[in-house]
Structures are given as structure tokens and as C-alpha cells.
């Protein structure tokens, strides 16, 4: 690939400053309007020439054509190989081949469990979704949950127990561990240490505590690379004890986030995203664009018992008659004038989904936020002296908060200092929010400790030679522990180092024993949710590679080596019900996915105001360490779906980078894709730069989780390892970093320039005040007004049966990108790799566009998911020479893979750029274990085939067949496409537009409803609801 020339940042700045009116932009490259950028955008199928090196001439052309003709003919003669049918020997009860079964289970991240419902086809799990009955999910899930299924089928997982680097067995390991226990018992446990990640499993806690009771000299350490250390310390500072904080955003009208990305990560994020979006849903009874009345309407009846018209005959040529409009739909609910919205202030150093949703986003360096919080607290009368008055907005925000006492909330982010957490607690108390928008419970952890201290103590003991045997249960500490502790060297001092982990990773490589860990979809377990609710983890499949779990390892250590996790969990929960009722309790808890009455009760605590901050050195460049948005602390490094998922803010794939603000970059003469040497506290790494609009000045953000050496084929050598700069004193960052141009160039694979719609008016935004004055703000401009129906020569299609449609509410969508992975999992979408992404060949059927508006220091951020629009007048259908994309009777643009010959005319003609082409054989047809993850109801596409969003046709057809068998109409809400199902904010609504009572018809009737590129008269079925902002007039005026 060619190197792109450097950007002229000053030219971009000049352009931004001279812009008339609002200017939406996707990237700095776009603003720079370089010739290379134009060429990249215009050449949709870039770099074809590299695929075919030989010079094109007549002779070659004829040869190729002759060969294609001959081979096409020959391939048609292939006799399909015989296939086998393998029935059961004893078929399980309730099992119907061909129909999926659903099981409730739970996945934990950072110790917090989220209830899930997993789809199983013929005994293999294929799709993960949220459990609607679980309080932390409500049916939604995030991309970690979605993609975790790929980790389970990962062929790179460790497949055998190893002892001293040689293949061994579980039995041998058990013998070794028993020997460790016997030896330790002689010293009452001295020299035996257990290191785990955050543990909330009641059974595992009881087990470990049992071991510690028997061997009092042994110690249990906990460490999580991207854990919530500061939240723990903050609670200790404010309350004197570890407290779990819960927010009730459904009660909150004003939200202040102190670098808290509560909408996209952290405990309870799915619930919070739902509650936040609920407070921003708007409905009016203004009917959008009055449509001509037609006599066909009165015959229309909806609802399950309504007669169903013949569905596809109606669009046949002879049946095309007068235009048939659906009945006039009136949106129900509040008028524009009555609309209320919550208001959110976010202060953060680097853009996040939560920051993007803010009504006011303040860009403040990571360490400065403490000062900002102190000033806000002082303005609220919390904590002594007022700040230096550095942040003038604090007073206005304080007034807004005070006007909403008991209906506002201040949330501190996990990477903020303990004092910021304590201040947030104190502010919530002063504002009377406790018990209303904020509540407290005891910690959900069984043994809450300061994990940084816990780790430091362990390392000190290791170095002092006090540890004979260390049992590491997950977490890959050799990779994830900050560099200053030099964990690898300390670890080697323990004579026996046993490690339980899914992969043979960095830690496994220097352990004396490695036991492959069973994935959560393969093992029994229990875990607490964000509010303490316990879910049982139940396996969907027997361990693929004979994995074991922590329960079984600890049981071995406790001398109960015969027991399985299943036995242990059941034993531990015996007391939860009477013995004769236990089976009922157990079955019900497994079925529901939650154990009743296990949410922790609320407690009353009083927050102390933390003492004034000690003066900190704040000179020099600040460095911030953050978990990567998609691969987190490195636990998902080998997951292709997450590596290829564009990061919600930078739209970068397969890389991490040094994020730096445009102004600072300009000052230091740096540019995107430059290599730099980043130095911090005497250590340095070489890394590429990414200029990130909306990032704090004099500050850089680096993401963890990359630079793995033993992740597997997917994750090895991707990005750089930021842990090599981290220190254990403040693992979230600090001052005094240095950045120097190192020379060299790095090419990123980003998706933000591809499929661009070239500056047209795609995101439509108004403030609440503007909306109240003009509810139809989305079609204010001439080119935004829908084209009248008569402006076409062709007769319209008639839809007498169903008419599928979708709306995406930009007011709810926070750009989290979970829909992209859900779609990938549901529709067997392949992973293409960084090189192909850089050529613009990524395959996601739904993309989430991120737009900036305004200046580059603090632009407003907007998100827009774009699936196939399923146009009424679809440009793609007209140009296909082989009729591989045609209109269906219910109005979908069908894509027929078996007809497609790969001309790509359809994609060229698509104004929305939502079609994806298999340039190469992207789907892995050969790796045995990856075949298991595929959805059996969707074709696995081959090379040379176009593909695109189908509105999850497999789900539509399943519902259709079901309803037809019961002789009824499909009810509203019966079909949920994967993107809508996963969405925590419920921004995506799908249904039958012909049914005036359906939710989607209601949404489309709103004044905010608009479609993309109306002036092309494509009449998309997917429409958007415009975004509303609710700024504080006091601050907006400045």
C-alpha cells in the first residue's frame, strides 16, 4: 500500500474556522481535502490492480475469458459429494432437530456477571443475547458478550495441561497440587499464595475461604489489570468501607459524569444506557408529511387475527395499480411543547460514547478533572475552599444541579482518582440524591481488597522468596501487571507456579503448570451481577479441549479432587431452600437465569468530604492508560470480531495508537501515522500517533491490551504494549511523559474514510428549544424535503401483506457499536484482517458512522448506525445484470448469493455504500472449530459474491412460518433483527409499517423522522429520528 502524505494541520484549522454554519465532518483527512483522500473515496474498489499483477492486454483478456467460460462450465458439472445424516442414538427429550434451544447463563467481566440467553443449534451454541429477566441486561448485551462465543471456538485455545513445558494431564496436575497442599499444610499454609481476578462467585469465595481456614498461613490476592481500584479506594475514603454504588438514571434529570463512561462500560452499563435513552425518548402527535388518501385504506386491518393478503403476487407487473398508501398513522404521546429531556454534562480527556451523548462536553486533562470536581463541589458547598476558579462552567452546572435536588446524579469514572470518587459521593449526598438517584449496597465482591496493594504485597513476598507455590487463576498477570513491578521476574522466584488460563499465553509460558481453562459456555459456575443478583452459569457444550475451571482447581487444593463444578455449586446453594424444594429451586434458577432475592439490600451510609488534595506535580505531558474499547485489557486479543470492530471513536481496527489532540500535534509537529517514542518514568515504547479531535491538550491516551506475544494467531504482534509504561503507583496515568518523533511510518486500517457520504446532510440535530418551535426541523432545507409520490414515472409497488421497516433513533443511540458484532455473529460475517480493512474491504453489514461538528478542540460528536436502507426505489436493483438483487413482496431488497456473479454494479450504484463484496475467500471454510460458531440459517458466502443487510431475513422467515402454521398475522415485536435485539438503548425499532399500531409505524409518524438522501428519491425503508440536544442556556450563551 502507498503511504499517505502528511496532513497539513494548519490548513485544516483554517478551514474549520472559516466554515459558515454547522460543518459535520468525519475525519481530519476529509477536512484537508487532499487529492489522495478524494481518490480513496471515489475509487470504491481500490487497489484492484494489486490483485492482478500482469499487464492487461488483448491476449491475456481473451485467455482469461476463455478460461472463465470453460471453468464456469466445468464447475457446473461438479457432482456434490455425498452428505451424511447422523441421528442421535438416544434423542434427548424436548429436543427437535432443526429448532434452536435457548439456555440462560451468565458471563462475567471484571467480576460482574451479566445474564445471557444463549441460542443452541443441535447442541452447539451459536449466538449470545441478553437475558430479559436479568436486571443488568434487560435483554441487551454488549460486544464483549456477543464476541465471547468466538473465543470459545477459537482454535488457538490451549488444548492440553502442560507441566514444565511438556504435555501432561489433569490427573498429574491434581497429584502435583495435592503435594503442594500437603507440603504447605506442614507450615500451616505458609508459602502458598492464590492470585485471582475480582471474584464475586459465592461458591468460589466460600471455597477459597475454606482453604484459607484450613491453611491460615496461605494468602489470597486479587488483581485485575483494568479493575476498579479507584472506585474501591474512593468508597473507603468517603464511607470507610467498600460500598457498591448503584445509579437510578430513570430518576435523574441532570447527570454529571466525571470521566465516567457509564453508557458503554462498567457494572450496570446496559441498564444505565437503557435508562438514559428512556429519558431522551420523544414522541409527538404531529403527523409527518401528510400523504394523499387512497380508497384502499379502509379495508386494512391489523392485529393477529386480521386477514393476510397474498404477499408476493401483489407486486407482479400486472398487479401494479394505483399507489397504495398505508393508513395514516398518528404518533401518540406528548406534543413537542411538552417534551422534556434529561441533561448530561460530561467532563473527560478523550472522547467516549458517553461524552458523545453529552449536552455539554468539557475537554479536561485526566488529572485536571480532580480540580474540576473540586470546583464543582465547592460551588455546591461541599468541601472547604473554593477552587481557583479555573473552570467557569462549574458554577452554572452547580446551579442546574441545585435546581434538581434529588433528581440529579454525579458519577465518577473508574480511571479517576479516589478523591474524585469521594467528592462525587459527597456531592450526591449534599444534593439529596442518596436513596433517589443513587443507592448503596455492600460490595458484591466476597473479599473486597485494595487490589493494587494486594498485588504489591504479593510481588514483594515473591521477591523476598517467601512464596513456594503460587496458584494463578486467570488474568494473565505476566502481561497485564504494570512494568515497574517486573512481575515476570518475581513470578519465577516461586518454585511452583500453576496457572489456569484459556490460552497458553505470556503467563502460561513461564509457569511450571498450565491448565487450560474451560470457557464460561463450557462450565458451571455462579456470579453476582452489578446489584448483587446471582446468576448460575450453565454450560452449553462439553469443554472442547478438556478445560477445567477455578472451582475444580480450588477443590483439588482443598482435597476434594473428585468433585465437579456442578457438584460444588449445588452443594453451596443447598441452604438456599429446603432439601425437598431444592430441585425446584435449582431448575427454576437455571431456567430464569437469576436466583431470586439475591440482589443485595440497600444500606445507609454517610459520605465524608475528602480532605483537600495534596499538591501534585502536574507539569509536562500527561499520559493516560485506558483499557482498549474493543479488546479491553487484552483478554479479547485473539478475537477477530473485536479486533476488526472499529473503535467507536477513532474507527480504527487492528491497532492501538497514541491519541493526541490536534492542537498538541500541531505544536509538536506530529501527525497521524507518525511513529513516536513515548517515554514515561524511564521506560519507553515506540508507537504510532493518532490525532484525535476532542482530546485534551498536553495529554496523550494509550490503550492497553495490545502488543501481545502469546495471544494466538490473531492477536500476536498487533499494536504496542502500553503496559510497559504503566506504573503500579497510578495505573491510570500521570504527568511527566515525553513524546519524540521516532521516524518511520505506520499504516492504520481504519474505516472512517470508507463508505463516506461526502458531506451531505446526514445527521440532523436541533436543541430542545429549536425543536419546540419547529418540530419538523429535520426537513427544513429544500433538499431534505421528501419528494412527492407523483415525482416518478414508474408505478409504485403495492404491499398488501407485510411491509417491513426500521427506524433508528439518533437521540437514543450512543454509538457503542454492539450492533455491529451482533450482526456479525447472526449473519456469519467474516473477518478480513487489517490489510483488507485498509483497502476499504471490511464486511460489516451495519456500520456506525461517527461525525464531528464544530472546532477540533471540542467538537460535538454524533453517531449514526447505517444498515441497508431497503429502498423502495432501490438503485442497486436496477443495475444488476443477473437479477441477483431484486425487490420482494414485502419490500426488501433481496440479495441472492447463488445468482451473484460479482459485477459489483449494485455497490457502485448504492448511494449509502452499505453493500459488501467478498473480494477473496474471507469466510474460513476450513478451520473445523470455527464451523461451529456459524448460524445454520444463514448461507456462508464464498468469494466473488456481494452481500448486505437483509433485515435478518432468517428471523423474518421463521416468524412467518410460525404465524402461518397458527393461521395468524405476525404480531408487532415478534421479529427482532440482531441489531435491534442487542441494542442497550433500544434505538432500533423494526416492524410492519402497514400496521398503524406497530411501534415502527409510530416512530415513523414522529416529526423527527427523516431518511437519508431524500433528494435521490430512493425512499428508504430505514429511517432516522433526528437528534435533540438539551443544552443549558446559561452555558450555551457563554
Amino acid at each position: 500500500m502507498k503511504e499517505k502524505p502528511a496532513l497539513d494541520l494548519s490548513k485544516i484549522r483554517a478551514r474549520l474556522e472559516s466554515a459558515q454554519g454547522p460543518l459535520y465532518w468525519k475525519s481530519l483527512e476529509e477536512l484537508a481535502e487532499t487529492a489522495e483522500f478524494q481518490a480513496f473515496v471515489e475509487d470504491e474498489f481500490a487497489e484492484r490492480s494489486t490483485d492482478w499483477q500482469s499487464p492487461a492486454n488483448r491476449r491475456n483478456f481473451l485467455k482469461l475469458m476463455a478460461a472463465s467460460l470453460a471453468f464456469a462450465g466445468v464447475s457446473a458439472c461438479t457432482k456434490q459429494p455425498a452428505e451424511m445424516i447422523v441421528p442421535y442414538v438416544r434423542q434427548p427429550e424436548d429436543f427437535i432437530p432443526g429448532l434452536p434451544l435457548y439456555y440462560a447463563t451468565a458471563m462475567q467481566m471484571g467480576g460482574v456477571g451479566t445474564g445471557l440467553l444463549v441460542t443452541s443449534h443441535m447442541g452447539r451454541p451459536t449466538k449470545i443475547d441478553g437475558n430479559p429477566d436479568h436486571p443488568g441486561s434487560l435483554g441487551a448485551s454488549d460486544y464483549f458478550h456477543q464476541a465471547s462465543i468466538l473465543t470459545m471456538y477459537d482454535p488457538d485455545r490451549a488444548q492440553s495441561v502442560t507441566g514444565n513445558g511438556r504435555i501432561s494431564s489433569w490427573i498429574a496436575f491434581q497429584a502435583a497440587l495435592t503435594a503442594v497442599r500437603e507440603k504447605a499444610a506442614l507450615k500451616k499454609g505458609d508459602g502458598l499464595r492464590i492470585l485471582t481476578e475480582t471474584v464475586t462467585s459465592p461458591t468460589l469465595i466460600a471455597q477459597i475461604k475454606g482453604v484459607l481456614k484450613e491453611l491460615p498461613g496461605a494468602k489470597w490476592h486479587q488483581y485485575e489489570s483494568c479493575g476498579r481500584h479507584n472506585a474501591y479506594r474512593g468508597a473507603m475514603l468517603a464511607f470507610g468501607k467498600p460500598v457498591n454504588t448503584l445509579y437510578h438514571l430513570d430518576q435523574a434529570d441532570v447527570i454529571v459524569s466525571l470521566d465516567a463512561d457509564f453508557l458503554s462500560c462498567g457494572p450496570g452499563n446496559l441498564l444505565y444506557a437503557r435508562q438514559y435513552a428512556d429519558k431522551r425518548r420523544v414522541q409527538t402527535n404531529v403527523t409527518h408529511t401528510p400523504q394523499p388518501k387512497e380508497d384502499k385504506q379502509e379495508g386494512y386491518q391489523a392485529g393477529p387475527d386480521a386477514p393476510r393478503a397474498n404477499q408476493s403476487a401483489s407486486y407482479a407487473e400486472e398487479a401494479r395499480g394505483p399507489v397504495n398508501f398505508p393508513p395514516q398513522v398518528q404518533a401518540q404521546g406528548k406534543t413537542a411543547g411538552e417534551t422534556t429531556l434529561n441533561r448530561m454534562y460530561v467532563v473527560e480527556p478523550a472522547p467516549s460514547p458517553t461524552g458523545g451523548m453529552a449536552d455539554h462536553r468539557f475537554v479536561v486533562g485526566g488529572g485536571e478533572i480532580e480540580t474540576w470536581a473540586s470546583e464543582l463541589a465547592a460551588a455546591l458547598g461541599v468541601g472547604g475552599a473554593a477552587g481557583a476558579g479555573k473552570f467557569k462552567e462549574a458554577a452554572a452546572i452547580a446551579r442546574d444541579l441545585q435546581a434538581h435536588q434529588g433528581a440529579c446524579v454525579v458519577i465518577a469514572g473508574d480511571r479517576q482518582s479516589p478523591r474524585v470518587h469521594a467528592l462525587a459521593h459527597a456531592m450526591n449526598q449534599a444534593l439529596g440524591n442518596a436513596g433517589k438517584t443513587v443507592s448503596y449496597t455492600d460490595s458484591i465482591e466476597g473479599n473486597p481488597v485494595d487490589q493494587q496493594d494486594s498485588l504489591r504485597e504479593l510481588v514483594a513476598d515473591l521477591k523476598a522468596g517467601k512464596v513456594d507455590a503460587l496458584l494463578v487463576l486467570g488474568g494473565n498477570p505476566v502481561y497485564g501487571v504494570p512494568a515497574d513491578l517486573d512481575f515476570a521476574a518475581a513470578y519465577k522466584k516461586a518454585a511452583i507456579r500453576a496457572y489456569l488460563g484459556i490460552y497458553y499465553d505470556e503467563t502460561a509460558a513461564i509457569s511450571t503448570w498450565h491448565v487450560p481453562e474451560a470457557h464460561y459456555l463450557e462450565s458451571w459456575g455462579d456470579v453476582r451481577g452489578f446489584d448483587g443478583t446471582v446468576s448460575f452459569v450453565q454450560p452449553l457444550i462439553a469443554p472442547l479441549y478438556g478445560g477445567r475451571n477455578a472451582y475444580e482447581v480450588i477443590a483439588t487444593l482443598a482435597g476434594e479432587s473428585g468433585k465437579t463444578a456442578h457438584d460444588l455449586i449445588r452443594e453451596n446453594w443447598q441452604s438456599a431452600s429446603t432439601p425437598d424444594q431444592f430441585e425446584i429451586f435449582w431448575k427454576k434458577a437455571l431456567h430464569d437465569g437469576v436466583v431470586p432475592k439475591t440482589a443485595l439490600p440497600g444500606i445507609n451510609v454517610t459520605a465524608k468530604v475528602p480532605p483537600a488534595a495534596e499538591a501534585r506535580q502536574t507539569a509536562g505531558l500527561e499520559i493516560l492508560f485506558r483499557p482498549d474499547p474493543t479488546i479491553w485489557d487484552g483478554s479479547f486479543s485473539n478475537n477477530g470480531w473485536l479486533q476488526e470492530l472499529p473503535k467507536p471513536q477513532s474507527k480504527m481496527t487492528w491497532d492501538n495508537a497514541v491519541w493526541i489532540s490536534p492542537s498538541t500535534a500541531q505544536q509538536r509537529g506530529l501527525n497521524t501515522e507518525d511513529m513516536v517514542e513515548l517515554k514515561y518514568q524511564g521506560r519507553s515504547v515506540t508507537a504510532p500517533v493518532w490525532v484525535m479531535p476532542g482530546h485534551a491538550n498536553d495529554s496523550v491516551t494509550v490503550h492497553l491490551g495490545f502488543g501481545r506475544t502469546r495471544a494466538g494467531h490473531v492477536g500476536n504482534g498487533v499494536g504496542f504494549n502500553a503496559n510497559l509504561l504503566r506504573t503500579s503507583t497510578d495505573p491510570s496515568g500521570g504527568y511527566g511523559a515525553d513524546i519524540q518523533k521516532a521516524g518511520g511510518h505506520h499504516t492504520f486500517g481504519t474505516t472512517q474514510h470508507t463508505q463516506t457520504m461526502e458531506g451531505r446532510d446526514l445527521v440532523r440535530v436541533a436543541t430542545l428549544e429549536e425543536y419546540k418551535k419547529q418540530p419538523q426541523y429535520v426537513d427544513e432545507k429544500e433538499e431534505q424535503k421528501p419528494i412527492p409520490q407523483y415525482m416518478t414515472l414508474y408505478p409504485d409497488f403495492r404491499y398488501e401483506g407485510y411491509k417491513w421497516g426500521m427506524t433508528i433513533d439518533l437521540n437514543a443511540c450512543n454509538g457503542c457499536s454492539a450492533c455491529m458484532v451482533a450482526c456479525q455473529a447472526e449473519n456469519n460475517i467474516p473477518v478480513v484482517g487489517k490489510v483488507e480493512v485498509a483497502r476499504g474491504r471490511h464486511m460489516h453489514w451495519i456500520r456506525v458512522d461517527r461525525y464531528f461538528k464544530g472546532n477540533w478542540d471540542n467538537p460535538e460528536l454524533y453517531y449514526q448506525p447505517v444498515p441497508c436502507m431497503q429502498c423502495e426505489n432501490a438503485p442497486c436493483e436496477l443495475v444488476c445484470p443477473v437479477a441477483a438483487t431484486v425487490h420482494s413482496g414485502d419490500g426488501l431488497n433481496q440479495m441472492v448469493y447463488n445468482r451473484c456473479v460479482g459485477t459489483r454494479y449494485c455497490s457502485n450504484n448504492c448511494p449509502y455504500k452499505v453493500r459488501r463484496f467478498n473480494f477473496l475467500l474471507y469466510s474460513d471454510w476450513y478451520t473445523e472449530s470455527l464451523k461451529g460458531v456459524r448460524n445454520p440459517n444463514v448461507t456462508v458466502r464464498s468469494r466473488g459474491v456481494m452481500e448486505k443487510c437483509t433485515y435478518c431475513i432468517q428471523r423474518i422467515n421463521a416468524a412467518k412460518i410460525d404465524s402461518e402454521k397458527q393461521n395468524r398475522r405476525i404480531a408487532d415485536g415478534e421479529i427482532t433483527p440482531a441489531c435491534a435485539q442487542v441494542c442497550p438503548a433500544q434505538a432500533i425499532v423494526f416492524g410492519d409499517i402497514n400496521d398503524p399500531k406497530s411501534r415502527v409505524a409510530q416512530m415513523k409518524a414522529q416529526a423527527r423522522n427523516y431518511s437519508l438522501l431524500e433528494d435521490l428519491n430512493t425512499r428508504p425503508r430505514t429511517t432516522y429520528l433526528g437528534r435533540l440536544r438539551n443544552p443549558n442556556p446559561e452555558i450555551e450563551r457563554g
Binding site: Q80, A82, M84, P87, V89, Q91, L99, V886, V896, N898
Partner: protein
């Protein structure tokens, strides 16, 4: 100037012209017969199976209903092949020592499945659903032929797309009352056209020719 070509070349050129035309025709005819012939379509070709199972014996002689073995045919996309357990339900009592049934007993003893060769094999991009066809009044025999008369299983129809479309375009020609779906000997009555139209209305049968009906 002397003649370049000998006189005989006239004949040769004429013959070769005719041969070319005929040869092309023959080639096309050969290709067509290959395409429609049983070498490619497998129509009426008996496949080797672990046990030479006779539908004729079980259906006609013993009177066993299709659904006794194909349990999921009314509920799911696939009809389902019987678990070994179902075979052994009878064959632990009758013919319990027959040598021919040894693979069945071996499967039951070892817990390893029998592996049957698929006779009706659709391409992977085709999604056929048994249950909805039965529900709409399409009989087993309409697609599978007189299975009750087949000592060894074979495919009666090509299962080509044009064959499917014959019915998808004109369901009234093939539909039968729901209670006759499993009747292998059902013959279309003389008034099929009239009855068909009535049933299409009654069962709400749609002429589904959208690509997405079967391809996705």
C-alpha cells in the same frame, strides 16, 4: 495461378461444416442429458446405506406412519431421522438377532450414531422447511414419490429449482386436504382445479416466489 486447394477440400469443408453443426447440437444434447440425467440428479439412484432399510416393508406391510420415525416433520424445517432408540423399540423384540440389523444394535450398544447417506440433498443456500409444507396441504408423496413402494430409498424428483417453482407458482394444482397429507396413495381428484382453488383460499396458501422465501 494454380489452385491452392485441391478439389477434394470442397467436400471436406462441407462435411466439416455439417459435422460442426451436428457436433455442437450433440454436445448440447449430451450436456442437457447429463444435467437432467440421473448421473447428476441422482433421481432413482439408490445410495448405499449402513442398513438396507425398506420403506416398503415398514410402511406398506407394517402400516407404520411416517411420523413414527420422522418425528419433527410437523414442527421443524427438518423431518428428522429416527434415533437408534426408535429402531430398537421394535427390533429389541422382533428380528432381534437378524444379522442385517447388527449395525443398529452396535450403535445402541456403543452409543455411536448410525451414519446414513443423504438421499434428498439440497444445496446449502436453499432453506427448505418441511413443517410449513405439510401445514399448507402438500403431501409427502408430492415431493418424495411413493416411498411406501420403495424397497430401497431413492430420490423421485430432481429437486431442481424449476421443479419447486412448478408448485410455488401454481399451488392449486398440487395442494390436497390436510388430512390426506400423510396418505401415500392419495390421487388427485378429477376436480383438483376446483378443490385446489378452494384449499388455497382456506389454508391461506401464498404463491411465494420471492427469492428470500428459500435463499438467504
Amino acid at each position: 495461378m494454380a489452385q491452392i486447394f485441391h478439389r477434394s477440400t470442397n467436400t471436406i469443408s462441407k462435411v466439416s461444416l455439417v459435422t460442426a453443426v451436428l457436433g455442437a447440437g450433440a454436445l448440447l444434447a449430451f450436456a442437457y442429458s447429463m444435467d437432467r440425467g440421473s448421473y447428476i440428479t441422482d433421481v432413482k439412484v439408490v445410495k448405499e446405506q449402513p442398513v438396507p432399510f425398506s420403506h416398503k416393508h415398514h410402511v406398506t406391510d407394517d402400516g407404520i406412519d411416517c411420523r413414527y420415525c420422522h418425528t419433527s416433520v410437523e414442527k421443524s424445517a427438518v423431518a428428522g431421522l429416527p434415533a437408534t432408540e426408535i429402531c430398537m423399540g421394535c427390533h429389541s423384540q422382533i428380528w432381534s438377532n437378524a444379522a442385517i440389523l447388527e449395525p443398529v444394535r452396535a450403535s445402541f450398544r456403543s452409543g455411536e450414531s448410525l451414519q446414513w447417506t443423504r438421499v434428498h440433498d439440497l444445496p446449502d443456500f436453499v432453506y427448505f422447511n418441511h413443517s410449513i409444507h405439510l401445514n399448507k396441504g402438500i403431501g409427502c408423496a408430492s415431493c418424495h414419490g411413493r416411498v411406501d413402494l420403495m424397497p430401497l430409498m431413492y430420490k423421485e424428483n430432481t429437486l431442481y429449482m424449476n421443479w419447486c417453482l412448478e408448485c410455488h407458482r401454481n399451488p392449486e394444482k398440487f395442494v390436497r386436504p390436510r388430512d390426506q397429507v400423510f396418505n401415500m396413495a392419495y390421487e388427485a381428484p378429477a376436480n383438483q382445479e376446483e378443490l385446489g382453488k378452494k384449499l388455497v383460499q382456506e389454508y391461506h396458501i401464498q404463491s411465494l416466489t420471492d427469492c428470500y422465501t428459500c435463499h438467504r
